[in-house]
């Protein structure tokens, strides 16, 4: 439960924005987390071995 309480946060407060150096791009932390998670998930989905050896038909 404590872990949940730490995890839960009030997202209604003002957002934090990060400017990506050398670009005109400014991105919110919320969006950055989503996009980074997507990229990481994509890489993991390809790299993590899929269970179950082949079963012949």
């Amino acid at each position: 439960m404590n872990a949940l309480m730490i995890l839960a946060s009030d997202l209604t407060g003002p957002g934090t924005y990060i400017k990506i150096p050398l670009t005109p791009i400014q991105i919110s932390v919320g969006n950055l987390i989503v996009i980074v998670t997507m990229l990481v998930t994509f890489v993991l989905a390809i790299l993590i071995p899929f269970p179950g050896r082949k079963e012949t038909n």
């Binding site: 989503v34 994509f42 989905a45």
Partner: protein
């Protein structure tokens, strides 16, 4: 009493009945064991393959939570904790929907999944993506809060600049709401169904270099 049971005589391969033609066209490529298979090619063995079904699952949660919201009207969620929770379910399922869809798209791109006559599968997928963005946009318009006020005010400039705004008035929340809960979900749903049937019909694309040759037959 005799019962005539001569399908081949009346509705065989040569039958030009519209019904027979439609049945051949649909079920010809989609026998039950292909619609609901219990085996798949051995090369379908990667976690990347789960993102299509995850996208569908997210869409179903979107629809369920969306239908729940329709029962109480567009202002309910501002006034009710339960309503706000249902709205949150709708909000996060949309995030997971686009999350899964994008990963699914990336995977299909790197697999060149349009090979082997699967261009329609790819194209219906892209149409589903574009239709989903449009549907999501109308959803943002009908939040009936500050975000929808601002999004409507900004979006009108984009749409007006290419003449679309003359027909799709984003400042009319009634129009946006009807599009969002009726017309667009039907369109997205229809495209999704066609897309999934395409996958069932043609099978999952084989690895590069292992496409079945023409001589192998059907």
């Amino acid at each position: 009493m005799t019962t005539t049971n001569t399908p081949s005589a009346i509705t065989g391969e040569e039958s030009t009945l519209w019904t027979a033609r439609l049945r051949r066209r649909f079920f010809g490529g989609l026998p039950p064991e292909r619609l609901l298979p219990d085996s798949q090619p051995a090369y379908v063995a990667s976690w990347i393959y789960v993102f299509g079904v995850l996208t569908i699952a997210a869409l179903i949660i979107i629809i369920i939570s969306g239908v729940a919201l329709t029962f109480e009207g567009p202002l309910w969620w501002h006034e009710s904790d339960v309503g706000h929770f249902v709205n949150s379910v709708h909000f996060w399922s949309v995030q997971l929907f686009f999350f899964s869809m994008a990963i699914h798209l990336w995977g299909k791109f790197w697999m060149a999944a349009w090979r082997g006559g699967r261009s329609k599968t790819w194209m219906t997928g892209v149409l589903a993506f574009l239709a989903s963005i449009g549907t999501g946009f109308t959803g943002y318009l009908v939040q009936t809060n500050f975000d929808s006020q601002w999004i409507a005010s900004e979006a009108k400039d984009g749409l007006n600049s290419v003449g679309i705004g003359a027909w799709f008035n984003v400042l009319d929340v009634g129009q946006a709401l009807l599009l969002h809960v009726a017309a667009l979900p039907l369109i997205v749903g229809a495209i999704t169904i066609v897309h999934v049937l395409q996958v069932r019909r043609r099978g999952v694309v084989p690895p590069m270099g292992f496409e079945p040759s023409e001589e192998a037959g059907s």
